[in-house]
Each structure stands twice: as C-alpha cells, then as structure tokens.
C-alpha cells in the first residue's frame, strides 16, 4: 500500500544521502591514516549515484516509483601525497610518508551539499503527507 505519493523516491533519496554523509565522515576521520589493513595509506572513497536515465525511459508508464537513485561506493584513484618525515614509523627507505589525498575543504563542501539534499527529501516527504491527509478528509462534514 502506498498512501503517500512519492514516498518511495523520497526514502530512497534519504538513504542515499545518509550513505554519502557516512562516507564523507569516514574520509575526514581517516585524513591522516597512513597504515590500513592492506598496508598502504587510507584511500579516499566517494559515492557515485548511478544514472537512472535508462530506468526513467523504461518507467514512462506512471510507475515512476521505479525511478529511484541507486548508488555505489568507489575508491578515489588519486595518488597518495608523499611527505618527507624520516622519523615517522611508516616512512619508506628515503624517509617519505604516504598520506591519503584528502582535501578537507572538498569534504566539507560535499558535506553541506549532502545535507541540503537530505533536507530537500524531507520536504518532499512532508508535502506528500499533507496531500495524503487532505485526501483522507474527502467527504468529511
């Protein structure tokens, strides 16, 4: 049963933005991590929203509920930043330490944008609920 119009899309959008927030916080928390389980420095991760264009074409017949964003988490291919720090326990033979290529400003800007998108989806939810409540009042005296 789907009483609230657009609730499916909005909840998928909320979930997607939540994952994005989690990935950003992980990046910020690991901005200086030089050693991970696989040996190297932490690698920045980012969220890629998969193109729903094909779905949109297929779902032209009013079942636009199928038309929701899906996402995957991908690794950023940018190479690690090498800093000369001979005393560091993770430094290589020449005294360089590989730090993850994380730009805190980039992460913060991304964080704000994810936040705004989350709020927009909340607004959709609130509007859909208002519509459903009005529809339930049809015929009331």
């Amino acid at each position: 049963m789907n009483l609230i119009p657009g609730a499916n899309s909005a909840s998928q959008g909320l979930r997607a933005e939540q994952v994005r927030l989690e990935v950003i916080s992980q990046n910020i928390a690991n901005a200086r991590t030089t050693k991970t389980a696989d040996g190297g420095p932490y690698q920045r991760q980012s969220v890629r929203f998969k193109a729903a264009l094909g779905d949109a074409m297929a779902a032209q017949s009013s079942s636009s509920a199928k038309n929701e964003p899906t996402l995957e988490i991908v690794r950023d291919p940018r190479p690690a930043v090498r800093v000369y720090q001979p005393g560091h326990p993770d430094s290589d033979k020449e005294g360089f330490v590989a730090y993850p290529a994380i730009n805190i400003h980039e992460e913060m800007a991304d964080l704000i944008s994810a936040n705004r998108s989350y709020e927009a989806n909340i607004a959709v939810m609130r509007n859909g609920r208002a519509l459903a409540q009005q529809a339930l009042s049809i015929g009331k005296r």
Partner: protein, 127 residues
C-alpha cells in the same frame, strides 16, 4: 443510479485533476531524489494533459475523460544544469511542489463541496 449523482462532467474532471496532482507529486519526488544522479532528466506531467482535459470538458465528453490518464514523462524542455546533463533544479522543484500542494487542496475542496451539496439535497437540511 449513482452515475447521475457522480457522473457529471465537472466532477469527473475534478477527479482526473486530482489524479494528475498525485502523479505530479510522484514525479517531483523522484526528481528531487535524483538531484545528484548524473545525466538524470527531470520528469513532469505534460501540459498536454491539461489541454486534453479542458477540451473534453468543453465537448462534455465523459467517455474520453475516463480514458485520459496523467502520465509523467521526461521534460525535454528543461535545460541541463550540470555538465553531465542533469536537469533538476532544486528551487524550481520545491516551488512546483508547493504549487501542486495548493492545487491538490483546491480539487479536494471542490469534490468535498459537491458531496456536501448532494447530502444537503438528500437530507433537506444544510449541515
């Protein structure tokens, strides 16, 4: 028998418009959810639906109104906002959603009004 009560052209048109509002809300929700999906083109109920509906009202044609369905389609007139071709503009979508909400309550009031007029006619007293 109820056809005579609820089969009038205006009443049917109200119901169709209400359907269009709900479909539009769905389309706008999917637009906002896909705000950051690369290449996503915004969807909307085409203006053509409204003109078809008013044409049917003008001709007093109930049968063609019954087959009229509001379907959200890709809005090809919207310009791309980002280099990847995404055409969703958050402000426009939110404004459209407020607009749609008001239109929805208008249709709800029209339908409820018709029902209360019928009730008044049946019972003979204004409630």
């Amino acid at each position: 028998m109820t056809e005579a009560l609820f089969g009038s052209v205006n009443y049917m048109a109200e119901k169709r418009s209400l359907d269009a509002c709900v479909e539009r809300q769905r389309a706008l929700a999917s637009n906002i959810a896909n705000l950051e999906t690369p290449g996503f083109r915004r969807m909307d109920v085409p203006a053509q639906f409204r003109s078809q509906l008013s044409e049917a009202v003008r001709r007093q044609d109930v049968s063609s109104m019954n087959t009229l369905r509001p379907n959200a389609v890709i809005d090809s007139s919207a310009p791309a906002r980002t280099p990847d071709g995404n055409s969703v503009n958050l402000t426009d979508e939110l404004v459209a959603m407020q607009d749609n909400g008001l239109e929805h309550s208008l249709h709800i009031q029209m339908i409820s009004g018709r029902m209360s007029r019928l009730r008044a006619a049946i019972s003979g007293r204004m409630s």
